[in-house]
Amino acid sequence: MNYLSVRHLTVRLKGGGLLLRDVSLEVAAGEVRGLVGESGAGKSMIGKAILGILPRAVEITGGQIVLDGTDLLTLPPAQRRIRIGATCALIPQDPLTALNPSHRIGRQITDRLVDILGWSRMGAEARALELLADVQITAPEHVLRQYPHELSGGMRQRILIASAFAAEPKLIIADEPTTALDVTVQKQILKLIAGLQAKHGTALLFVTHDLGVVSKVCQSLSVLYAGKVVEDTTIRRFFAGPAHPYSAALLAATPKYTDPTAGLNPVPEAVLAAVRAEVEHG
């Protein structure tokens, strides 16, 4: 039984064009699924639709988002919000704007546990300490009393990861969690996410444009182009040889660090034209 099933989801700009076309994807309990595609393909939009944080100008016009057997879209907004809050979490893209500059770190982690999930203040604080240790922050007692601007981007992303795992969610959506960080920090952050995911058995939808990242953390993969899933496969099969010509071209376009003399291979125009035609008419 899949924990999350998105079925035939269609999202469009209010009074405008389609952003997601009939998107279906599944994430099993404890599974890590990658969601890749180029900029503007709608990767983040899927995550936002699932979590109910779509921008105002965008609306869901069809399909189902089934979480643990319940279609979220049939729930009244207040119930939907509570259900998402209790079972899902987000690791956002930009650690610089994802923490409230006015509150201390400790408060940001514990407030949600206390206010929304009804934890005791003591229990939440103990939990926060434990979580910061889990994401390898030294001197967690000190960090809990600091404000976000006193910490580096990598530190803030660790805190956001800790915060995402705080309430033991069943599903985490990581929206390009390493894109805003520099390469040396990226690797540590990926390790942390993968480690915590394995420890807690959380289902993870990992949105990224980096196939290298996908190969390290994911078990299955959905390739998105112009708001449509063009390939849904496992990691092993994808890296052995993608079925869809666009996926193959995307994989070929990944720079190879082992051979610096090899040039870049952009996705050929013919492949793009074919996939565009397929998405728009299929």
């Binding site: 207040a78 899902c88 987000l90 956002p92 930009d94 404000y147 956001l160």
Partner: protein, 283 residues
């Protein structure tokens, strides 16, 4: 980096303390006016009119800052004038802030039709020329302390609403708002816990600026004789009366003017200083 921060902090500190000190003096003087004033501010003595301040030749030591053309003590009138100035500043500043900031927050955070209604209201409101509007308002409801306060609130709430709306909109687009929504916080909860603390520094600056503006507006209305009844001392009224005799008795004009200037300046500097102190990034 650390040195730069220290520098900002030290200057902000000095500014904050100087302005707070002056305002504290004004508040104490206003509260204790009957005990501090050497004379009755309304008492006329036509035989000792236009006496110069104490250090000039021909001064009467009983009238420290001299007298006006009707022989009333300038110092006592300034002391009693602070009561009106402060009441107007505090009451109208607070009311303006409450109304303007609330509407601005609602418009900027909820957007949609709420924003549409409030923004159009602001646009229409700001099309009225403010001075004319206030004079008209007071001409209709009659002069008095209440009328001045009402005029300031009615005219100036748009200043708060516009700025706070823009700031609330900017904060609403931040990722931490999205995170709070995912965590299950309701809209009012997000507005209160996540947005308001980040808009607060700007509200404080606007509030203190507004108090300074209120003091000026009261002075302007006194100047055109639309404030409190003329025999009650106000700074604006004194400036207006002093203007007529500035060549013979400059002190009647200059002392209330300097007091007014320092008070308005202190309000605005207090706001800036508080912002620097409470802004978590500068702290």
């Amino acid at each position: 980096m650390a040195d730069g921060r220290m520098e900002v902090r030290r200057r902000a500190g000095l500014r904050l303390w100087l302005s707070a000190a002056w305002l504290a003096v004004v508040v104490v003087v206003a509260l204790l006016a009957p005990h501090l004033a050497p004379k009755n501010p309304l008492e006329q003595d036509l035989f000792s009119g236009r006496l110069p301040p104490f250090w000039q030749h021909g001064a009467d030591p009983a009238f420290v800052l001299g007298t006006d053309s009707l022989g009333r003590d300038v110092l006592s009138r300034i002391i009693f004038g602070s009561r009106i100035a402060l009441s107007v500043a505090l009451i109208s500043g607070t009311l303006t802030c409450l109304i303007g900031a609330s509407l601005g927050l609602l418009a900027g955070f909820f957007r949609g039709w709420v924003d549409l209604v409030i923004s159009r209201l602001i646009d229409i409101w700001m099309a009225f020329p403010p001075v004319l509007f206030s004079i008209l308002l007071i001409a209709v409801i009659g002069p008095g302390l209440g009328s001045i306060i009402l005029a300031i609130v009615v005219i100036d709430w748009t200043r708060f609403a516009r700025v706070v709306r823009a700031e609330a909109m900017a904060q609403g687009a931040m990722d931490y708002i999205a995170s709070a929504r995912v965590a299950g916080r309701g809209r009012m909860g997000i507005l209160w816990r996540e947005v308001l603390p980040n808009v607060l520094p700007i509200i404080v600056v606007l509030l203190t600026l507004e108090m300074g503006i209120a003091v000026i507006v009261e002075a302007i209305l006194s100047f055109v004789n639309l404030s409190i009844s003329t025999d009650f001392p106000t700074w604006g009224g004194m400036i207006s009366e002093g203007r007529a005799s500035v060549h013979q008795a400059w002190w009647v004009l200059v002392f209330p003017l300097v007091t007014l200037f320092l008070t308005v300046l202190s309000f605005s500097q207090l706001g800036e200083g508080l912002k620097d102190r409470f802004d978590p990034v500068l702290r």
